[in-house]
């Protein structure tokens, strides 16, 4: 198996006032091209896990590797570089930079990756087409887009630089059923077409059904790990 992500014995203890043991020894290997959901009740540690995978937070114990590089040993700047080059993020809402238009938001990810100007102009249009954002919407700023449109732009921005992994924390939580399903279709298609690895957390049973691999967390531990045909 071509492992993109390797998680070894991950612990996270939040210490404010009293200790909260949010992750208690998580071990996971994630293959390239996987389409994986992490589910579990509220407070089970989904967000905590994704944040640590993305180098946005540090674990109390344990190690994370992305494409063989040890994320948990990196400095702040190295983490920034890793996120810029190899990771894509989609959060629950308000993902976009408000002063940039939809197209510019996507282009921004390419600028950060040092993509040359010509490709920087074409690619966002192509990817925004793939996520189904009408041309007339592309020069709008996030404020003038619906929640579903904003999420699609966020997905476009996350995948445009061809990252090793796209990390999405409840990307459909703020969308109605129709939009949630559309976003899922989109991610599924991108997963197939581009072999992009998706890891996302969700409460939503509709989302869990679609995953190739489905991990359940409870109280910071993996309680089930299923793979569908």
């Amino acid at each position: 198996m071509d492992k993109v992500v390797e998680i070894q014995n991950l612990h996270k203890v939040y210490r404010d006032g009293f200790d909260v043991h949010a992750l208690r020894g998580v071990d996971l290997d994630i293959a390239r091209g996987d389409f994986m959901t992490i589910a579990g009740p509220s407070g089970s540690g989904k967000t905590t896990l994704l944040n640590i995978l993305g180098g946005l937070d540090r674990p109390t114990e344990g190690r994370v590797f992305i494409e063989g590089q040890e994320v948990t040993a990196m400095s702040r700047s190295e983490l920034a570089d890793l996120r810029r080059r190899r990771l894509g993020f989609v959060f629950q809402s308000f993902n976009l930079i408000p002063v940039l238009t939809a197209r510019e938001n996507v282009e921004f990810a390419l600028i950060l990756r040092g993509v040359e100007p010509n490709r920087r102009r074409e690619l966002p249009q192509k990817v925004l087409g793939q996520v189904g954002l009408d041309e007339c919407m592309r020069e709008r700023r996030p404020f003038d887009l619906s929640g579903g449109q904003q999420q699609r732009v966020a997905v476009a921005r996350a995948i445009v630089g061809e990252p090793a992994v796209v990390l999405a924390d409840e990307p459909t939580a703020n969308l109605d059923t129709e939009n949630a399903l559309a976003l899922l279709d989109l991610m599924e298609r991108l997963n197939e077409e581009r072999q992009a690895t998706f890891i996302f957390s969700t409460h939503d049973p509709r989302v869990m059904e679609r995953a190739k691999r489905h991990v359940m967390l409870r109280d910071g531990e993996v309680v089930s790990d299923e793979r569908r045909a």
């Binding site: 944040n51 993305g54 946005l56 937070d57 702040r76 700047s77 920034a80 570089d81 890793l82 996120r83 810029r84 080059r85 990771l87 993020f89 959060f91 308000f94 993902n95 976009l96 930079i97 408000p98 002063v99 940039l100 921004f108 990810a109 600028i111 950060l112 990756r113 040092g114 993509v115 040359e116 100007p117 921005r157």
Partner: protein
């Protein structure tokens, strides 16, 4: 792969227009600061120059050359016997605007049975015009003329004290260089108002040749006054002259050495001005820092997203700094333009400082003038430029560092 070129300017510019009201207020404050700072610097410099010029033009010139010791006791014996080589040196020195040979001495003046102590200042009127305002001080009658002999122009109070009018005769007695008493009669052709009380009641101006005869000086003089082209050139001219004359025999003094109290007054005035400017700067700095902190605080989540996209902490700090600096440059463009206009107006028409109590403090210096003129200079433009940039940078430093220190998880969680 092309180099990573984050469009800081574009982002900063757009970010500024998100909160128009705040940006315009901040920009307004920065513009006001830039304007006042530069205008005041140029004005203060010009006003001091004016004060100094007034003083120098009446009394001291920029640079004075005497026989060594003359400035201590004004003894007639301490004279420059051969002014020729010194004049040649002055004429070959750069940045010299004009010079004048003078004879100065104390005298006893008598008329109609009254007598008074007097101060004789003798010069060649054609040369003196270049270095002093003596010719402008006339109240009545006419100026000295080089081709006439035996004429004097008196301080008007001295004339009153001795009951003298135009056309009257005045007798003068002096100690001459040969040890004898020199005495002669002169005709009053003009009355002058030097504006300095000590001179109004003692000044007697005459032609150089008359004084040289009175003092049995031959071709000697006892003071050579030199004016530089600009007040900034004084040190240079002074240095150049000091190198060329024999230090054993002559002393070369700047106006500041000849009249240290004036120099001290100007320095004191600068010090109080700078103190006020420092307070003004501190207020501006805190105000700007406050708005930058607010604008950063409102965008914590957004900075978190940018960190997730892979911006480094330093790049976030740079974005914050760029926003403030952008405002600083716009503010300087407007503020400095305003300063140029107001400075130009105050070089053309002057600015009357009387309402600010200038009358009294100038009177202490025997000067009635309260109208001052600003002066453009690159030096103070650079000072203002550096101050605005430095102030803006300092104001943004703390919020920028705070931004760079944000932890991504917390920033993203922030709503």
């Amino acid at each position: 792969m092309a180099a990573v070129r984050i469009p800081f300017l574009k982002l900063a510019w757009r970010n500024l227009w998100r909160n128009k009201r705040r940006t315009i207020l901040t920009l307004g404050a920065m513009t006001f600061y830039s304007w006042m700072l530069l205008w005041f610097l140029w004005f203060w410099d010009g006003a001091h120059d004016g004060m100094m010029d007034n003083y120098v033009r009446i009394l001291t010139g920029h640079v004075q050359i005497h026989a060594r010791g003359f400035s201590d006791d004004m003894s007639v014996m301490k004279r420059i016997r051969e002014p020729g080589p010194i004049v040649a040196a002055i004429e070959s020195t750069e940045k010299v605007a004009a010079y004048s040979l003078r004879v100065k001495t104390y005298a006893l003046a008598a008329a109609h049975g009254d007598s008074a102590g007097a101060f004789v200042l003798a010069f060649d009127p054609r040369r003196e015009r270049g270095v002093s305002y003596m010719h402008r001080l006339l109240r009545e009658g006419r100026c000295l003329e080089a081709r006439n002999r035996g004429e004097v122009v008196l301080g008007y109070v001295l004339a009153e004290n001795l009951g003298l009018a135009l056309g009257d005769q005045i007798a003068l007695m002096v100690q001459a260089a040969d040890g004898s008493m020199g005495a002669d009669k002169f005709t009053v052709v003009g009355l002058a108002d030097p504006g300095i009380s000590a001179m109004n009641n003692s000044l007697i101006m005459m032609n150089l040749a008359d004084a040289q005869e009175l003092l049995a000086y031959g071709d000697a003089v006892n003071e050579i006054v030199v004016m530089a082209e600009d007040s900034y050139d004084v040190a240079r001219v002074h240095g150049a002259l000091e190198e060329q004359v024999d230090p054993e025999r002559y002393e070369v003094l700047t106006w500041a050495e000849a009249a240290p109290e004036m120099k001290e007054m100007i320095e004191l005035d600068w010090a109080s001005f700078l103190l006020i400017m420092a307070i003004f700067t501190a207020v501006a700095l805190l105000g700007i820092m406050n708005t930058v902190v607010m604008s950063v605080f409102e965008r914590v989540r957004e900075f978190g997203i940018m960190m997730a996209l892979g911006l480094r902490p330093g790049q976030l700090a740079r974005l914050v700094v760029t926003e403030t600096m952008l405002m600083a440059f716009v503010a300087m463009a407007i503020g400095f333009s305003l300063a140029v206009v107001t400075t130009w107006l105050s070089t053309e028409y002057g600015f009357d400082m009387e309402p600010f109590g200038a009358q009294e403090s100038m009177a202490d210096w025997g000067m009635a003038n309260t109208l001052f003129f600003a002066k453009f200079s690159l030096k103070f433009f650079v000072v203002a430029f550096a101050s605005v940039l430095g102030m803006s940078f300092l104001a943004t430093l703390y919020p920028a560092l705070r931004t760079a220190a944000m932890r991504p998880v917390e920033a993203i969680k922030f709503q």
